[in-house]
Symmetry: C2
Subunit: 407 residues, 2 copies
């Protein structure tokens, strides 16, 4: 977690273009030009004109932004960061035209990740996930949601969540852990789905609920039915977890509507969500988490982000970092994809990757740069945030500050 | 240029997967596993099994590839690397739905780059281009073609080509300079196109031909007609330049066919080239340079790389690095785009970004790793080249060797 007990004071000055997100969803970025921010004990204490820095901050350690743009740290609210194995060969086979069915027959697909993750030691899982987490930090992500879901048995699901906690404790990135025992029905339960749902609601939640903040279910065609999803999420809520849903990615099964009904924090993917689903989500305070890197990597149509945004729902962007359908770690790249392919403006995409992500995780204290927020921010190697879609392959993150500490 | 007079010897060993490209276009990558390569005086002297390194290379300086993949240095055969100004705001306006016509009216578009480039000092142009060239090197590009074309008068075209030469002389990247005086008709000649073509064929070629290896023309709707193109390229050939053509990007005007007729080294873009055009190019030894980052950034349909490859023509990939339509510098990103969106396999895309690029510049000595080739190679932070499309946002270049020197 941020801070880790240090005292973290910092004055960031000479900011050419500061994205504060202090105006809410419709005011968008709340940009202040020629700005400065003061962080005290890891918390943002003052934001204002660089010519009017209060004298009390004169002795803080200083970071010169060099006239560049500064954004809140990115909040990535949907990742499968902890996994074992490499599916680049499967990925190339798909690009050569093989079908997912052929790949499954050849031992590929998600179940190959499950087998590798079950076989991996906790330390090996930790080591590979730490490398990914450091790369995410280098790309400006200061808060990341991490799901289990490649265990599909109690011991491995617990192992994955322990790894997520260890990353949170050992790296300057805040990890929000999500239990996703209901990611897919494992092979050994294919003939008895009810028994698997019983396992998720019973033994798995026994061991995983204490390690998680959210419970997620992949509710879709070829995954869990809406009724199975309801059973699992209600069991999770009874354990004190908040809930989120992989919803209506492959078809419109009613998962987004269920998410709204259960006051889920988010419904994610939403390729097939209807206007009615979005209206229900908006009324329930359920955010929409969009994952453009999946469309990019799988060569599928992008969900219509413009329509989703215009429905009034809170929109967040996430990487979906995973070894099968989106081996992507960079939130700036996701912002570029969303602005280029989903009909969001660059401003909306940046908001969704910062404040939207935070709200989708029900974290009020981040994703914006206002007094009282966590002192997490990104200095770009660019004069404004518009360079993110303009230079989609560039490493635009010049510096990352987490809880007032320059990384 | 590579070498710069140093003696550059190196043994690269412990290569898990070596892309040699020693089998020609249809044999594709010619991968050797568990390989090593020896570079003597900047030239690749030996390639083989890592267990059979000849004793004579025992004393060379060594680079341990750590079991990773090694590729030839990328050859980027189409860039507008030298320019002044920033068009991120125009780019964002397009993403918000403004038309190119509205942007031109507001002072944007290519003519804003021309104005900024004319106004910039040679040193300022050099400084910004050097930053881009270093980033290209960091992404594994060891040879880059650089066009003029934002001057549209003799003095500025010459200034751009001098900058290109200075980059070649001062950085460990080989710059192949191309004169593109016929990029667009400048505003001051809009009413007298013939006079502008006269200027290109006369005074501009007088000063630019000695600084360039190629002459290029943007031959398309809204650019130069096929007859204007023919006149300019024949004048250039009479000055000893080889030729290449921006061909049939916006419509099928017959530019690719003209390129074949003139034995051009390449025809580039080709969105609207017909099968007959491609057959003529193939017969003439004219390469097809494809620029997927333009389609990505402009949200346009991608040319059908599959059809173009299958026509038998030599296919190359390039960034088209420029401030308007593709502010992209990374050849790995271009490889990922081509494999994901143009129907090329990952192997074909890697070949096109290395050997294909070299052949499109008529450089026989690079883009492959065989005895006698330049000692330019890239060590990936990945076990195979398949990670390039699999991890499209990752910085996969772990080390770059230029002429036997580790950068």
């Amino acid at each position: 977690m941020s801070g880790k007990g240090e005292v973290n004071d910092l004055l960031v000055f000479n900011i050419g273009s500061l994205v504060t997100n202090d105006l809410g969803r419709d005011g968008l970025l709340g940009i202040v030009e020629d700005a400065a921010v003061a962080i005290s004990d890891g918390v943002l204490e003052w934001v204002g004109d660089g010519a009017d820095i209060p004298a009390e901050y004169g002795d803080l350690p200083r970071l010169d932004a060099g006239g560049a743009a500064v954004l809140p740290g990115f909040v990535d609210p949907h990742t499968h960061l902890v996994f074992a194995g490499d599916r680049s060969d499967e990925f190339a086979r798909r690009l050569r035209g093989e079908s997912y069915e052929e790949i499954l027959t050849a031992g590929g697909g998600i179940l190959s990740t499950v087998a590798a993750t079950r076989a991996a030691s906790e330390d090996d899982l930790y080591d590979s996930a730490v490398e990914r987490a450091w790369r995410m930090l280098a790309n400006g992500t200061t808060t990341v949601e991490v799901k289990s879901g490649y265990g599909l048995n109690a011991a491995t699901e617990e192992k994955m969540l322990r790894v997520a906690r260890r990353i949170d404790e050992s790296l300057p990135i805040d990890v929000i852990p999500t239990f996703l025992g209901a990611h897919v029905v494992p092979a050994e339960y294919r003939e008895d789905r009810d028994a698997y749902v019983d396992l998720v609601c019973g033994e798995m939640l026994d061991v995983c609920a204490p390690l998680a903040r959210f419970c997620d279910v992949f509710s879709d065609e070829a995954a869990f039915t809406v009724e199975e999803t309801r059973r699992i999420l209600e069991a999770a809520k009874n354990r004190g977890l908040e809930v989120r849903v992989h919803a209506d990615q492959l078809g419109r099964v009613g998962a987004a509507h269920l998410a709204a009904e259960l006051s889920a924090a988010s419904a994610d993917h939403l390729d097939h969500a209807t206007d009615e689903d979005l209206t229900a989500m908006s009324a329930a305070g359920t955010s929409a988490v969009l994952l453009p890197a999946v469309s990019f990597s799988m060569r599928l149509p992008y969900p219509d982000g413009r329509r989703i945004w215009d429905s009034g729902v809170t929109v967040a962007l996430a990487t979906d970092c995973n070894p099968g359908t989106a081996n992507v770690e960079s939130m700036p790249f996701v912002v570029a994809l969303a602005a280029l392919n989903m009909g969001l403006t660059p401003d909306e995409a940046v908001w969704a990757a910062t404040r939207g992500g935070a709200l989708s995780l029900r974290l009020e204290d981040r994703g914006h740069l206002v007094p009282g927020a966590v002192g997490d921010l990104v200095v770009l190697d660019a004069p404004t945030h518009l360079h993110i879609p303009y230079r989609p392959d560039a490493d635009l993150v010049a510096a990352v500050v987490k809880g007032g500490v320059i990384l």
